[in-house]
């Protein structure tokens, strides 16, 4: 054990002394294969966080491989991963050249990049649809790459990803807008920070960043708060719908031969030497030439299955709120006013008002460290924080909020991305710790992941390009956005495109029905909502839910009582035979 080596002893002593000076006892530390492992029990979550972040500092100082924090809080540890209820042998004995664990934005984008090659690819997703965790629970911002510290993977992937979005949006047919973002100054003296900001832009490679005066801002944004004292414009900041992007990547990958398996959770791995030979799931045991870990908040658990723990995830919850579309003309830029006395530990960019490609405004996000990685509960205190952002725009009222939701960021203690082949397992590739700006970075991360994976596969034979790779995806039409003439042509083809089901978002029966057929079809009411926005408007499905369910029942031949809202156990209605009318 390295702990017993002189250097190891010294590192651990320095670390524990540091913790002691912060009043933390109860943490035990050890070093194994260059990784700092923390165990023990502390009374508060704050202490656990301090142990982890101090560990990351030690890691950096002594160039260790990583930090794994298993410290419990009053004997409470992370809540186990939720698993699908299904158990079958669908995948038993199957072999793929590449297996991607996780169908979020990283997994689907990597699948699409890998599908350029003539190899067999599977994506394993434990939920019933793509991108149901962090990938859809964020603000959809394509960050410019300004916020990340120079030299970090976050900074380089963000700036590269931001640029790649233009081509991705053209090829995959998803909406990308670049309204630009403005860091509002709350004090005139903040102008002194301009050289710092410019240097940051230069170091990170962010183009176009510039100062905008208070008067210009007031002209650009007439509804903006009087409290602004000018600001720093980052014109490359963009917005996308993260759900649309995940589905676009997924659908394009599927059309290029990638197989998607839902309700499929990896529960273990078998190795021979330094090679993963078998991947155990609830749907059978399969094998792969290369394994890509894109498991989001559970990436450290997958690393553990492979016997390669060198990082751990501490989930950080964020809450966003959505404002009614009728306030869409209120703002032209993304705006935020970072507090000068911000909590350094929150590791958040501070939040603000973000535009959505659908036309809504978004308030958010908050940042709160939690233990449960799939805890998406919201509380009054979250909304209290978000409502403060409303002050940035004079027109916004509390009653304009139509919904809010939570997500968890998969942060490592180092607070940077891990994008690399494993140092210890020959056929494992990582994209871990992909928190914000993960969405913005995804196209760049996916390119590198695919390159790492192909390099591994090439060790056992040549890998050629897929001859019929099609980089293009034809998006489903959004009829409400078409011209009347185009709309008429669709309705002439099928009158169902003329029957409006969702009145708030103007979604037709034909559009809803199409999502239930072909490609990666919707299997749940929420799946229809994510693909069409039916039920995402101000009445939130109050009127259209029964109609959407009827269309789904008709298309799938199911009983209305068997149409679920989301995954396992999310039933909406009691089954017909259980109801009085069906007696």
């Amino acid at each position: 054990m390295e702990s017993r080596s002189a250097r190891g002893e010294k590192i651990l002593a320095v670390y524990l002394k540091k913790l002691g000076s912060r009043g933390i006892t109860g943490v035990e530390a050890s070093l194994e294969d260059g990784v700092l492992f923390l165990t023990g029990d502390v009374p508060t979550l704050e202490d656990r966080l301090t142990a982890g972040f101090e560990g990351a500092k030690i890691k950096k100082k002594y160039r260790l491989r990583g930090v794994v924090n298993d410290v419990t809080v009053n004997q409470r540890s992370s809540v186990p991963m939720s698993l699908p209820s299904i158990n079958d042998t669908l995948l038993e004995g199957r072999r793929f050249d590449a297996v991607i664990i996780g169908g979020g934005i990283i997994g689907t984008a990597a699948a699409r990049e890998l599908s350029r090659w003539n190899i067999s690819i599977a994506v394993l997703e434990k939920e019933e649809d793509l991108g149901l965790h962090a990938s859809s629970r964020n603000d959809g911002m394509v960050h410019p790459g300004f916020a990340a510290s120079p030299g970090t993977l976050k900074a380089s992937y963000n700036v590269r990803g931001n640029r790649l979005y233009t081509r991705a949006s053209e090829e995959l047919g998803f909406t990308l807008r670049r309204p630009g973002s403005i860091l509002l100054f709350s004090h005139p003296a903040m102008i002194l920070l301009l050289p710092v900001f410019k240097r940051r832009c230069r170091k990170n490679g962010v183009s176009g960043g510039r100062w905008v005066s208070r008067r210009t801002l007031a002209r650009w944004e007439p509804e903006l708060t009087d409290k602004q004292r000018g600001g720093f414009l980052l014109p490359t900041a963009g917005i996308i719908s993260p759900q649309e992007v995940v589905l676009a990547y997924g659908e394009n990958a599927a059309s290029n031969g990638v197989e998607f398996f839902f309700h499929t959770a990896v529960t273990g791995m078998e190795k021979q030497g330094d090679i993963i030979t078998r991947i155990v799931t609830n749907r059978g045991t399969l094998s792969a030439g290369v394994v890509l870990n894109a498991a989001g908040v559970w990436a450290d658990q997958v690393a553990d299955y492979a016997g390669d723990r060198f990082f751990s995830i501490h989930p950080r919850k964020g809450v966003d709120a959505i404002v009614d579309k009728k306030q869409k003309d209120s703002l032209n830029h993304i705006v935020g006013m970072p507090s000068l006395r911000g909590n350094r530990r929150s590791h958040s960019k501070g939040g603000g008002l973000v535009l959505c490609v659908e036309g809504n405004l978004l308030l958010g996000p908050t940042a709160e460290e939690v233990l449960d990685r799939e805890d998406y509960t919201t509380h009054q205190k979250d909304l209290a924080i978000l409502k403060k952002h409303m002050e940035l725009d004079r027109r916004l009222r509390e009653s304009d909020i139509i919904t809010y939701y939570a997500g968890t960021r998969s942060a490592t203690w180092e607070e940077d991305f891990i994008v690399q082949p494993s140092d210890r397992v020959a056929n494992l590739v990582y994209a871990a710790g992909i928190q914000s700006p993960g969405v913005a970075s995804a196209p760049a991360i996916a390119e590198d992941l695919a390159a790492f994976a192909v390099k591994i596969l090439e060790k056992s034979g040549a890998v050629g390009p897929r001859p019929d790779f099609n980089p293009h995806r034809t998006p489903r039409p959004v009829l409400a956005e078409l011209s009347e003439e185009e709309r008429r042509r669709w309705i002439e083809k099928d009158p169902a495109y003329g029957r409006i089901v969702c009145r708030c978002e103007e979604v037709s029966e034909g559009e809803i029905r199409d999502t239930l057929r072909g490609g990666l079809p919707a299997t749940t009411v929420d799946g229809v909502k994510r693909r069409t926005r039916a039920g995402a408007g101000r009445c939130h499905g109050g009127f259209c839910l029964p109609r959407v369910m009827e269309i789904m029942a008709r298309e799938t031949g199911k009983d209305l009582g068997d149409i679920p809202r989301g995954g396992d156990g999310s039933w909406i209605l009691m089954k017909r035979k259980e109801t009085v009318n069906g007696k």
Binding site: K326, I402, I491, R499, M574, R576
Partner: protein, 424 residues
């Protein structure tokens, strides 16, 4: 190609149908546009009775009441467009309003000098009352649950908690009980119930369903489906009282937390909404500040009886027909003397918000801002002259009050009318 009608009515519920009938009787050629497949609006799913006591002197069910109006549409000069959705409305200079629609037959347009919006209201959702905790399946608005039970024939759950004591919530407490579900209780954040007294008696008391006032749902539990809710008491300011949390196992949460008039189509016409009614202010002919644009029913303000909804629809229909056939153009409207009606004292809101001198005799509706025992309502001129007076022994905000007023009582050069309610 655009067809022209004297009057176009948007919405085929109890307000819109009554408006179409009255406009046709006023001599207008009428288009009645409904976005759903069938006329009737929300009445289609209201299978309980109590509708039509004032309009028909009978206790009808919702579908029966809608049927009466559908019969009246026949034989009149009314073209009915169903499954037809308004996508755009703007006011041109010549023909008045230009509207674009989408229907299974394709997009088309209509023009009319007078338009009546009768778009009803929608239910406030759990997010709009800042419901917290998990976000599982099993949270329904009361109207949604009513549709599932009465139209689809499915129960939304076995054991329900109802938040909010609005009328639909009370009616659903009874309906779910009759269909075999267990209603654990009705929880109301306010100190007083929101629904009509008759529903409190007939839907809760008669079925031994407890009503918990000053109590709200603090948190929902269950990741996939509702498993429980935590309720807590609130103080007078609506803040949770510590130590009063109670966890109630249930599989569904039914929300009856308010209705919001649906007036989003008016946004493009630049019409501002009254903060209190959340509808556009109208005069006694149900005309908004935009000449030729009328609104009625629950789109104007949330009514408690369908009879009143149809009554305002009929007034809008008469007004729109008169406008379209006689007083076309904005110039005359400009010369018309408009007298604002200003609420004062314990008034939550009143409609109409203004009177025009040569309009028909107004029917006033108002709600008190709080429960009052012994109150006096006065309509006064700015000089303090009492033009109308009425005494009430008991007023509750959920119960809307109605009275008629004669325009002959209005003095000359009356700058405004003060609508004053006070406890006596």
């Amino acid at each position: 190609m655009e067809s022209n009608y004297d009057v176009t009515v948007i919405g085929g519920g109890p307000a819109g149908m009554a408006a179409a009938v009255a406009a046709a009787d006023g001599g207008a050629r009428v288009a009645l546009v409904e976005r759903e497949e069938k006329l009737g609006g929300i009445l289609k799913q209201c299978i309980h009775d109590g509708f039509g006591l004032f309009r028909f002197n009978e206790r009808l069910t919702g579908p029966e009441y809608a049927w009466r109006y559908q019969q009246m549409l026949m034989g009149r000069r009314i073209d009915v467009f169903t499954s037809t959705f308004l996508t755009k409305i703007q006011r041109g200079t010549e023909e008045g309003f230009q509207m674009r629609f989408v229907a299974p037959g394709g997009p088309f347009g209509l023009t009319s000098p007078a338009v009546i919006t009768a778009t009803g209201c929608r239910e406030r959702t759990g997010r709009q009352v800042f419901l917290h905790g998990d976000r599982p399946a099993g949270i329904f608005t009361a109207g949604q649950a009513q549709g599932f039970v009465n139209l689809q024939g499915y129960l939304p759950g076995r054991r329900c908690v109802i938040l909010g004591s609005g009328d639909i919530g009370l009616i659903m407490a009874r309906r779910l009980t009759l269909e075999g579900a267990e209603v654990e209780g009705v929880y109301e954040v306010k100190q007083e119930p929101s629904g009509l007294t008759r529903n409190l008696v007939q839907c809760l008391e008669d079925f031994d369903i407890p009503l918990h006032l000053s109590t709200t749902v603090k948190e929902v539990h269950g990741r996939r489906r509702v498993e429980a809710v935590t309720v807590c008491q609130v103080d007078e300011a609506g803040r949770p009282v510590t130590g009063t949390d109670r966890r109630i196992p249930c599989d569904s949460l039914i929300l009856s937390v308010g209705l919001i008039p649906e007036n989003e189509i008016l946004d493009s016409l630049g019409i501002s909404l009254d903060e209190r009614t959340r509808g556009p202010g109208v005069d006694q002919n149900q005309m908004t500040r935009l000449p030729g644009l009328f609104t009625c029913g629950n789109a104007q303000h949330v009514n408690d009886l369908v009879d009143y909804v149809s009554e305002s629809g009929a007034a809008a229909g008469r007004g729109a027909a008169r406008f379209a056939l006689g007083k076309r153009g904005a110039e005359e409207r400009g010369t018309e003397e408009t007298i604002p009606v200003r609420p004062s004292g314990e008034i939550l809101y009143q409609v109409p918000a203004a009177l025009v001198r040569h309009g028909e005799d107004p029917v006033f509706f108002f709600r008190a801002s709080r429960s009052l025992e012994k109150a006096r309502l006065e309509l006064r001129s700015p000089g303090g002259e009492v033009l109308y007076q009425k005494r009430y022994t008991f007023l509750r905000p959920p119960e809307m009050e109605r009275f008629e007023f004669s325009m002959t009582k209005l003095p000359e050069n009356c700058g405004e009318l003060i609508f004053h309610l006070e406890e006596v």
